[in-house]
């Protein structure tokens, strides 16, 4: 494959994307919402920081007896949490919008046949289209992160090196999500004969991977894990089962439960507790596996690990609530969600591979 031919296609595709009315309108909307939400996020961050400073001051003044407890210093990554929800909505629309007619439009206008009559291989065309699309989405992502960082600096919030790295990782994960949707759209554009059908197919697959698969995962977990163990009839007082369902708009589809102790050791309760733990782990395992097929769920998991590692750790922890774990460094937080990161890479790769195979065999009469 000659690089100059590939780059010629990619350059044209990138230029087509960033000058198309469709792309510009959605990107503008995306950036405006991004700026507003970052602004809100910065206000919340400043409030949290103020409250943190007050707590520290109070501890010093009153010589708090719980000297081992320290309030958590807010991270500027909280600012990015709100980006997650519209990234999956508007970002997803942006990715679908640039991909759904990328090949079908060329078939309809017959420009593909004209292009193929010149010295270029088919794989160079499809790879160039992918590269151009990735470039356009990368450009959109870089622009939104640049605006976010600029706003942080305008409001005198200066990220540390670690926080800056976390912002970049968040951007990479977001780009991974956009690429997943772009890959779906591109595949459908190659499969369908008309752009209208390509859009319908794309939306159907989008709905399946973003909503239906997580729902099916929960149903599969319910069906395969069986009924939860029953609690002993005579239990010690103060025991309760706590279920975590949601956190800050982030939907946690797995049932994370923990048993809180409030009395003496009881062998029956201990046995129940073990059974419950096994049951929860089994449910969670089934659910996690099915969620790996959903780019949206993988994105939430990875982005949460980056923006709010403590909550991410609580969600993913199977251990008793009494045990406190520190979220650790960014690398450690990412290490805990490596399967989701891998899934975010594998998902678009599979669709790109399917596109490649279909495009190479496409009938161009």
């Amino acid at each position: 494959m000659a690089l100059d031919r590939l780059l010629n296609v990619a350059r044209k595709e990138f230029s087509d994307h960033i000058t198309s009315r469709r792309f510009v309108i959605i990107l503008a909307l995306f950036l405006v919402i991004s700026a507003v939400s970052i602004h809100d996020g910065i206000e919340n961050y400043n409030n949290s920081l103020e409250s943190y400073n007050e707590q520290l001051q109070r501890m010093e003044e009153f010589e708090d007896p719980y000297s081992s407890w320290m309030p958590e210093k807010p991270s500027i990554m909280y600012v990015f949490i709100s980006m997650m929800s519209y990234m999956t909505a508007l970002g997803g629309i942006l990715a679908l919008a640039i991909g759904f007619d990328l090949v079908s439009k060329e078939k309809e206008s017959r420009s593909l046949k004209t292009l193929l009559s010149h010295p270029i291989y088919r794989d160079e065309i499809i790879n160039g289209k992918v590269l151009g699309g990735v470039g356009a989405l990368g450009f959109a992502m870089a622009l939104s992160l640049a605006i976010a960082i600029a706003m942080l600096l305008i409001f005198s919030v200066v990220p540390t090196v670690d926080e800056f790295a976390a912002i970049l990782v968040f951007g990479a994960a977001s780009l991974g999500l956009l690429l997943a949707y772009f890959a779906i759209a591109l595949t459908m554009s190659t499969v369908a004969k008309e752009s209208g059908n390509a859009l319908i197919y794309t939306l159907v697959i989008f709905a399946i991977v973003s909503s239906l698969l997580p729902m099916l995962g929960m149903m599969a977990a319910d069906a395969l894990a069986g009924d939860p163990p029953e609690a002993p009839e005579m239990g010690p007082m103060g025991k309760q089962v706590v279920g975590t369902a949601s956190s800050g708009g982030y939907f946690v589809s797995t049932a994370s439960q923990s048993v809180v102790y409030g009395g003496t050791e009881d062998p029956a309760w201990r046995e129940y507790e073990e059974e419950m733990k096994t049951y929860i782990e089994k449910r969670r395992f089934i659910n996690d596996i099915s969620n790996l097929l959903s780019p949206q769920m993988n994105y939430y998991t990875v982005a949460m690990a980056v923006t709010n590692p403590r909550i991410a750790l609580m969600i993913s922890s199977y251990t008793d609530a009494g045990v406190q774990e520190e979220p650790g460094s960014l690398a450690e937080a990412l290490g805990r969600v490596w399967m989701n990161i891998a899934a975010l890479i594998v998902f678009p790769s599979v669709f790109f591979a399917a596109t490649y195979v279909k495009f190479m065999r496409m009938d161009i009469r």
């Binding site: 017959r110 046949k113 009559s117 010295p119 270029i120």
Partner: protein, 301 residues
Amino acid sequence: MIRTENLTKVYNGKKAVDGLDLEVGEGEIFGFLGPNGAGKSTTILMLTGMIEPTGGRCLVDGIEVAKDPLAVKKIIGYLPEDVGFYGNMTGEQNLDYFARFYGMDAKKRKARIAELLELVHLDGVTQKAGEYSRGMKQRLGLAQALINDPIVLFLDEPTANLDPEGVREYRDLVERLAGEGKTVFVSSHILSEVRAVCRTVGLLANGKLVAQGTLDEVARTLAPSDGDVVRIVVETREHLPDIEDPEILAVERNGNRAVVRAKTDIRDRLTETLFSEGLHVREMRIEEPDIEDVFMAVYRR
């Protein structure tokens, strides 16, 4: 310059092109005739390296197309039927995009594109290609086929969307290109079009080559067989009397006209006989098969 050997293409178990053996010499204007669905476009797609043959092979300037399609694409130009362009780009931008695949530098591209746009009368047109009429697209198609100054030009239904003036200009251009030594391969189902520009033709029907040669040769090959009988058309000013000659097999009379079916060409003898009887001969000719009828008969097969 162009050669196919047992060239075959099968689509869904059906042979679109069936064992095609074809040869077109350098500098020829070759007309590839056949009804719609005969396999003309499929043959061109194989010759231009856009699809691979199921069997056999084809060569352009000695290069086997399936083995090195890029090398072939560099020396040929192709105007597809119903040519399409990028609607969001101007004609100039479309040509510039295609020209980049030939490694032409910016200066060379600019000069070549300006020359071609002037040639097809699209210079000064600032509209996007999406707003072009079908005729304008066809002219831009011709320009894109010539972008690399090809030595072989494949034109698929080139006059389909052109107005009479456009057709005349196209014919002049083809003649000029052939004069420069380029080989022009014109595919069409319109006999009159091929007749106007092509020196040799090949007739394709159901994926098979039915005949090849000059138009007259092909017409004679395909004319309905009447054994070795010669058909002579005779017309006199006066009413035709009975004509007798040992070579005559039959006479179809119609007033002062007749079609004489004879074993040999007896025109000289016939003229003398009629003259001796004081008749004025207005017409005396061998009846050639009507080329339109011959081709129509093949199209209807």
